[in-house]
């Protein structure tokens, strides 16, 4: 008797905490970008086509510098974060927006401070930096792209090519490292995502 065919589904990537959410930070971010006649935005990755299209259709020029992939490649070469940071070699004050996503969750505290200082220098007056970070108990084991959908809804897509460690940073540490910015708005969601919108007033 033939064995019935059973469909096999791959749930290995589906981490239970990663439910979609509607981002208040992105709503504010886009509202602010819309006020600028010429907006140039930098994204540190991971490369995500939906996000590229979403921003590139709304800003004058969208820059991508995939630090996630650089960090991943550097792990085998001795894990020197400065080498990764060297890729942010843009002139000071040239961006109205910087998207860090959850890149800082893959960095140690000292490295976060260096990254935030560099990004602060790259922002134009009035520019904004968006940061996301997971609460400890909700942090996924793997690396995901935050994918922007209509209505500022964010879904997650596993980045199979990335194998990066994840560090937890408490709210106190986050507040401390983002203190370069005079204005920081923060949001927290049921899925454990924390969002920070930092403005360079």
């Amino acid at each position: 008797m033939a064995t019935p065919t059973v469909p096999v589904y791959d749930y290995s990537h589906a981490e239970p905490s990663l439910s979609a959410y509607t981002s208040m930070m992105l709503k504010l971010y886009f509202q602010n970008l819309a006020k600028l006649s010429i907006a140039q935005v930098l994204d540190v990755g991971p490369v995500c086509n939906e996000n590229i299209l979403h921003f590139a259709r709304r800003v004058k020029r969208y820059y991508v510098c995939d630090l996630f992939l650089r960090l991943n490649r550097n792990r085998s070469k001795g894990w020197v974060f400065e080498k990764v940071l060297d890729h942010l070699d843009h002139p000071p004050g040239c961006f109205e927006g910087i998207n860090l996503w959850d890149f800082i969750d893959h960095l140690k505290n000292d490295d976060i401070s260096r990254l935030v200082k560099r990004c602060h220098a790259l922002l134009a007056p009035g520019g904004m930096m968006s940061v996301t970070s997971f609460e400890k108990q909700w942090a996924p084991a793997k690396t995901y792209a935050f994918v922007i959908n209509d209505g500022h809804q964010v879904t997650f897509r596993l980045q199979r090519h990335l194998d990066l460690p994840r560090y937890y940073h408490s709210n106190r540490i986050m507040t401390s490292v983002l203190s370069e910015f005079p204005t920081v708005k923060s949001f927290i969601y049921r899925n454990g995502v924390r969002e920070f919108l930092c403005k360079n007033d």
Partner: protein, 174 residues
């Protein structure tokens, strides 16, 4: 090795497919009136230094240093291809390494194997997860999209920022 591959009739919409079926006629070595449907392939053991202008599709599997100008035709860097230079073509697909800027009237496609540094101006873009990308993207604004951010300025004399990071990402790297 320079090759010309006639594409199967059914694949005429995928200009990058250069495979030939067993028993199919050998690749032609001279241009024909139907050159538009052919790809010129620069093989992986070939290195070129200099500029290319052309009127048919081009695939680079080898190494090239120089500019490519072929508006109206498609250009591809294969997964083993390496190129440093400016590309002007109808549609561009990058699967190998490229340092340089791309200007197209059509679409740019960057696959997961690609390592790209440069600036892109195109009507459409597609970048696969896993591709390395450093550079900028400027999409051609469609007329009905004039309500987008960049067009919201009512002052036509809005100055360009002093620090435009149109960084010549590619130039630096080259």
């Amino acid at each position: 090795m320079l090759k010309k591959g006639r594409k199967p009739e059914e694949d005429q919409n995928s200009p990058y497919d250069t495979t030939t079926k067993p028993g199919a006629p050998a690749p032609k070595s001279v241009a024909s009136p139907s050159a538009r449907t052919e790809n010129t392939i620069i093989g992986e053991n070939i290195s070129i230094e200099g500029h290319i202008r052309g009127n048919e599709h081009l695939v680079i599997e080898g190494a090239m240093k120089g500019n490519v100008q072929m508006e109206g035709h498609d250009f591809k860097v294969g997964s083993r291809g390496r190129i440093e230079g400016e590309i002007k073509a109808q549609n561009v697909k990058i699967s190998g390494q490229m340092i340089g800027n791309i200007t197209t009237k059509g679409k740019v496609e960057i696959t997961r194997e690609a390592d790209f540094m440069g600036d892109i101006r195109a009507k459409g873009i597609s970048i696969e997860d896993g591709a390395y990308f450093k550079g900028s993207i400027e999409l051609a604004q469609e007329p009905h999209r004039k309500t987008t951010l960049s067009a919201k300025s009512t002052n036509p004399a809005t100055p360009t920022p002093v620090n435009d990071p149109k960084t010549e990402t590619a130039k630096k790297a080259v």
